[in-house]
């Protein structure tokens, strides 16, 4: 008889991820991913002016603010067939890249590293050995004995105080934790340093978007940045120079620290290349447009079915007809009314809550499908699709990752190993390195275009009297994001957002096919089912984001996560 384990962060009252797994012989035999809150925020948009929609969508989530703003203006531009001046494309691209770099760094260090790094081993680390190890894998100048000592002292002080604080809920000493004290110290030191570099990436968003966390410079048809080389308040050469400096520091951190750490952790946990594969249909949309009309892009898109890398399909544009026609949402196991999958333009958000029921409805997340199939989205999908298409930048950094992991772990690494829990972390680091290079490229393109005297940033939108439909996509940090809008007589008639975590956290569909989180957990071995660290590792590797919708503080002080073994 299998045990059922529920992991439910109970005090996050509204809208969080809950995972249920059945465990048989210390391995996961079945899994359910569910979201515990109905959002239905899209309904707020009906009847509003489509030019204002991005202000609202930017508030969907506090972590993914800019991505929803961008997808929204793109959806309206697509409906109007409105081109965007090239300066606006570059400025938007830079904001998206800087946001993604911030997001990827935070995800790895602040949100996932401690799944692999055992804080309580750090006091045992030998400083000389740590310094030597660090020098052998990276030229990072802040890999100094002083920085390692300061980080170690900090952990020792926390341990001595008996107040573990932020570390209170870690699975320290868990048998699945296997790094040496020195590697633990190295990673923790970078965890501290990462805070400074994610902030620099965010400063770039702030300079271009005029504010964070909610950028102010977007508008349907372009951006609202004034470009004027003779003005101190507009976007001028000083500001561009400031962005250049910030990006240089962030890119150096990504290449010399984040990328190397992910490869090193991966090399030291090689069994995790065999765990967590799950759904091997992959989807990504092209992004970072290089012209006004959106006909060429710096990031490729397409899809792969059943792991058939050689049979990769290509999306030519960010709103490719195959993508437009292929997306539907199924509510067979989600708390909504509806008897068949609907295309997002026809989509309904009509709640019908029942209790959590493993065989029937169990989640507030709809099940998005592409040509009827569940799809994994995110950096892994993007890297695999780019790699399969022979995209040079993807091949460059994927090759570098494969080489680095192989060198640290003394092992043979193949691209197919990326289809795993560790592979998702590796792909995110590969994507970050690609984005770092592209940030510098797009800054140069913007600077050169401004130097030519082109200050245009905006094309006026014109709304037709009848009904028009549009889709705006963005290959966001967590994967393919699409906003679907129907505009009638200049007002929003329908609005649906199909977000990356909906693809990945999708429940089963009418055919019973698992969503990606669910499928990725099957067969995962658990050393201690009552401390399901392995489940967290795989779920975290997707970088889920569902709870930021609501920020209510719960002062009750009770146990915050419930791990229930039945």
């Amino acid at each position: 008889m299998a045990n059922r384990i529920t992991i439910d962060p109970i005090t996050r009252i509204e809208g969080h991820l809950r995972i249920d797994v059945e465990v048989d012989n210390n391995a996961v035999s079945n899994a359910w991913a569910s979201c515990t809150m109905w959002r239905g925020i899209e309904n707020i948009l009906k009847g509003r002016d489509p030019r204002d929609a991005w202000l609202f969508t930017q508030r969907f989530c506090g972590v993914c603010t800019t991505v929803h703003a961008m997808a929204s203006v793109r959806s309206v531009e697509d409906a109007l067939k409105l081109e965007v001046p090239i300066n606006a494309q570059y400025i938007r691209n830079l904001i998206l890249i800087a946001h993604a770099l911030h997001d990827h760094i935070v995800h790895f260090y602040q949100l996932s590293a401690l799944d692999w790094v055992d804080i309580l081993q750090i006091p045992k680390a030998d400083l000389s050995a740590t310094t030597k190890l660090a020098e052998s894998i990276s030229p990072w100048t802040r890999n100094s004995r002083e920085e390692f000592q300061a980080a170690q002292d900090r952990v020792k002080a926390v341990a001595a105080s008996g107040q573990l604080g932020i570390f209170m809920n870690g699975y320290w000493g868990h048998p699945a934790m296997r790094l040496s004290p020195e590697v633990n110290l190295l990673a923790f030191t970078h965890y501290v340093q990462a805070l400074e570099y994610q902030r620099k990436a965010l400063q770039v968003v702030g300079i271009l978007g005029s504010k964070t966390p909610h950028i102010q410079n977007l508008t349907v048809g372009g951006v609202a940045n004034a470009i004027d080389l003779d003005s101190s308040t507009a976007l001028n050469m000083d500001r561009l120079q400031m962005i250049r400096g910030l990006l240089e520091e962030v890119v150096q951190f990504v290449n010399q620290v984040y990328f190397v750490d992910v490869c090193a952790v991966a090399a030291l946990y090689p069994e995790w290349f065999k765990i967590g594969k799950g759904v091997n249909n992959y989807l990504a949309v092209p992004d970072l447009p290089l012209d006004s009309a959106g006909t060429s892009y710096d990031l490729p898109g397409g899809y792969i079915m059943n792991g058939n890398i050689g049979g990769v399909h290509t999306f030519k544009t960010a709103a490719d007809k195959d993508f437009r026609d292929g997306v539907s949402e199924d509510v067979a196991h989600a708390y909504y009314r509806g008897d068949k999958p609907l295309h997002p333009w026809k989509g309904k958000t009509d709640p019908a809550f029942t209790e959590w029921n493993a065989d029937e409805k169990y989640s507030w997340v709809k099940a998005p499908r592409f040509n009827g199939a569940p799809m994994q989205v995110g950096p892994l999908a993007q890297v695999l699709i780019g790699y399969a298409q022979g995209h040079p930048l993807t091949k460059k950094y994927a090759g570098k990752a494969i080489e680095t992991i192989g060198a640290v772990g003394h092992m043979q690494v193949t691209p197919g190993m990326l289809e795993s829990t560790l592979g998702r972390h590796g792909a995110r680091a590969i994507r970050a390195a690609m984005l770092g290079e592209l940030a510098q490229k797009h800054l140069q393109l913007l600077t050169d275009n401004i130097a030519k005297g082109d200050y245009t940033v905006f094309n006026q939108p014109v709304f037709p009297s009848g009904e028009v439909e549009g889709v705006g996509t963005h290959e966001a940090p967590r994967g393919t994001l699409s906003h679907w809008v129907v505009v009638d007589g200049g007002k929003i008639k329908n609005y649906q957002a199909v977000v990356p975590s909906t693809w990945n956290a999708s429940p089963r569909d009418a055919s019973g096919a698992h969503g990606p989180y669910e499928a990725s957990l099957l067969h995962t071995p658990l050393a201690r089912p009552e401390e399901p660290l392995e489940v967290l590792r795989t779920v975290h590797s997707f970088d889920p984001c569902m709870a930021c919708a609501c920020h209510t503080f719960d002062p009750s002080g009770r146990e915050i996560a419930k791990v229930k073994v039945l």
């Binding site: 962060p9 972590v63 604080g165 932020i166 501290v192 709870a547 719960d554």
Partner: protein, 185 residues
């Protein structure tokens, strides 16, 4: 110069969760503050709060709170200080982006960048349904919440003055009806 942040947190699309941004924008519209004071609508910042903590000497946050106690009615204003928050347990993060005032504070403490003074002005919510408007009891608590922020500024010795001609609070998400009902605050 002392650096002070007055930050409204919450989601303006989810009913009473939007109380923080309302309070922040009303404060900025009706009061002028001495140099070094920043008033911000922070939305739902998750771990980015660490950056706000590290950049300031004192932080006043306004947020909705969840309390099961039926004796405490919706719209009640409750105050939490740094020590109250530091006593909480951090979350086991299923979703690594869970709302994380507690996590952000504990992390800031670990990095030795936490402000000495932290006050959370909490307003018990009635409804967190998807709407851009506040419920009656929570809207009625706006003045008390604003008064608590001003009390804290007095305690910190920070100067401020009432604007005789208020600025537009720009509560762009609210219905016209709700926005009009805020004019007299």
């Amino acid at each position: 110069m002392k650096k002070i942040l007055i930050g409204g947190i919450g989601n303006v699309l989810l009913g009473d969760d939007g109380i923080g941004p309302y309070v922040a924008r009303l404060l900025a519209a009706h009061f002028e503050f001495e140099e070094g004071v920043e008033v911000a609508d922070l939305g739902t910042p998750a771990l980015d709060l660490i950056d706000h903590f590290s950049a300031n000497d004192a932080v006043i946050l306004i947020d909705s709170v969840k309390i099961d106690d039926p004796e405490i009615p919706p719209g009640a204003v409750l105050l939490y200080r740094k020590a109250d928050i530091m006593r909480q347990r951090p979350a086991v993060r299923m979703d690594p982006h869970s709302p994380t005032l507690i996590d952000a504070m504990l992390s800031a403490e670990l990095f030795a960048v936490a402000p000495n003074d932290l006050l959370l002005v909490g307003i018990k919510s009635e409804s967190l349904e998807a709407t851009c408007n506040l419920s009656g009891p929570v809207q009625a608590a706006l003045e008390e919440a604003i008064a608590e922020v001003l009390n804290e500024l007095d305690r910190l010795g920070v100067a401020y003055s009432y604007r005789t001609i208020p600025e537009d609070p720009d509560i762009w998400w609210a219905s016209e009806q709700q926005e009009e009902s805020l004019v007299d605050i």
